[in-house]
Symmetry: C2
Subunit: 355 residues, 2 copies
């Protein structure tokens, strides 16, 4: 048996950050490393008296287990990696919250990164995330670069659960076999158009997101336009500008003011719609009398305006919760995670009701 003291002294000289290790705790408690390891993972399997000594040693040394070493040794990843377009954006904040809560108490760790709506960034971040050998992968949307898709495929083939959130087209088979949790954006666009048509409007506009890679907003626009045309209504799709979304919405509305024929407009998100609503009021354009407005996202501010903004309420936090559930089940059962369609609800408030 080696001398504990000199061994200890040596260890400190060597590589590695100077933090206490299992070995330090073991020495302090007068047991071997494996017993400490066991105590940490399964306290019940250690004699009470030993457990007490170990606990004291842990506190005394300030030991914090090293996850890297643990995962490496066990080969079982406790990491769930998630990729979201924009962490700060209100629409995704609740999804993250849902994911976080769903994963809490599961002993898993959420590793979160943002793509800034760029597929190239997504690919880079994906590579980074995979470096942490996650047990499950949650990505936003079903559009990826070819390389990113290959990374997802490889991970999936290697047994990593892969879930795509926020996007679940009804009539498109998922060739890759990833789970999908979300809703059909084209169908939501159709719902939006139908609502305005039912209110008697025959000349509509869809104001698309200024973010080029917000495919889901574009798809809502496609569904909107298709439904409008099918109903024999006029429809125009216009892009919003970039920058502050309220301002972009205001700018679009000024343009819309000229197009006297359009009587109702739907927007890619509530911020654009709220900007338009406020600008309409500033310009003296009656809402919904002269122009009906419909948003998407159900952001808090929409409820506060007068008239309140009609909108679509997407299952923001539900998506996160469902993703967490799917991931946890897949991880514990070893089966593939399951897909789910969650409802996106029309909320009719003042801004879209026929006078």
């Amino acid at each position: 048996m080696k001398s504990t003291t000199s061994d200890d002294a040596n260890r400190r000289q060597r590589r590695g950050h100077g933090r206490p290790t299992l070995h330090d705790v073991a020495d302090a408690a007068g047991v071997t490393r494996i017993t400490v390891s066991r105590y940490i993972r399964e306290p019940g399997k250690v004699a009470p008296e030993t457990a007490a000594r170990i606990q004291a040693a842990i506190e005394q040394t300030g030991y914090v287990p090293n996850h890297q070493a643990g995962q490496l040794a066990s080969g079982a990843s406790r990491i769930v990696a998630a990729l979201i377009p924009n962490v700060g954006h209100s629409i995704f904040a609740e999804t993250i919250q849902g994911l976080t809560e769903g994963l809490r108490d599961s002993g898993r760790e959420l590793l979160l990164m943002a793509t800034g709506y760029s597929l190239e960034v997504e690919e880079t971040q994906l590579r980074t995330l995979l470096g942490w050998a996650p047990g499950a992968l949650v990505v936003t949307g079903r559009h990826h670069t070819a390389s990113a898709l290959q990374l997802l495929r490889d991970a999936h083939a290697g047994g990593t659960a892969v879930v795509e959130i926020w996007d679940h087209p009804e009539h498109e088979a998922n060739a890759e076999g990833f789970a999908r949790i979300g809703f059909d954006h084209r169908a939501v666009g159709r719902t939006m158009a139908r609502h305005l048509i039912e209110q008697g409007h025959r000349s509509l506009a869809y104001v698309d997101s200024g973010v080029a890679e917000d495919y889901r907003a574009h798809e809502r626009g496609q569904g909107f336009a298709a439904e409008a045309k099918a109903a024999g209504a006029q429809v125009k799709v216009l892009p919003a500008g970039t920058g502050d979304a309220f301002d972009a919405g205001r700018a679009v509305l000024r343009g819309l003011g000229a197009e006297s024929s359009i009587t109702a407009a739907a927007f890619a998100n509530d911020h654009l719609a709220c900007g338009a609503l406020m600008e309409a009021q500033a310009l003296g354009i009656a809402v919904p009398g002269r122009l009906a407005l419909l948003g998407f996202g159900d952001f808090p501010i929409g409820r506060q305006l007068t008239p309140a903004l009609s909108t679509m309420r997407p299952p923001r936090s539900e998506i996160g919760q469902a993703a967490a559930e799917a991931v946890l089940e897949a991880l514990s059962s070893g089966e593939e995670p399951g897909s789910r369609t969650l409802p996106c609800e029309l909320i009719v408030r003042g801004s879209s009701i026929a006078a």
Copy 2:
């Protein structure tokens, strides 16, 4: 020399997720692991012809380096861990953005967790983060539980750079020696009071955050009250409710309507203030004529209302950038990260200007 083929076959049977390793790439390229490792870290130090073979092998195998193993072996952490009250909250979103951008291209990884404004959660999350052996730690605020503080101290003593953001009191020495990047919230509260007093108000209110553990908002209130009293003005501090911040602001304003003596109110954040502003308009209370309103945070919506909301613009993204810089410098120089005070600017718009 062992048989490569049987060795390979054996390895697949054993522990560990089935993903390709350095060994697989090395076999495919006909070199040893260390050469592949070197190619990945310092491509220049490998013969061009070998490099090409390795690159081909990497692509063919779909190899993704395992960070856990890398960090464990090198003992050098590339992780910067950050703890934020609320990832989705607009005020912190830009700080995270600043951090992310500041760290990009540095080869470091940001590990982010939210505390939900709870110090107990902070302690838990801190323990988790420390398990990843981060090279630097960014935490929000200077208030921590005793255990959390001890964890920070231990980490700091072990050579981990520790930075506290969003809070940097002018006249309080930091006994722990952590870096602080932010501003003095009491001073900001004083600035807010001074502005209203300069506009001729003698009876003020501060509407505090409904979040009990938002110490920074409370401190702004303390500074506000102190300054008001020093100027001989009346001042009242009232709490906002929890739940939707706009609604909470509206509710407070209705209460304020009864207190006919108060002529100016400052708020813990812009959402509360915007809610109050909108409710005032709904009630026919003239702003700023009958009641002047001042927010904090400079959220986008404040600019859109009429009158536009006067507010304080905190250095949201600057704090993130400065934290990234401090961390990177500390990490590369081995010195302690430096503290910095960043300015929080008064933005006077319509809601607080004397008629």
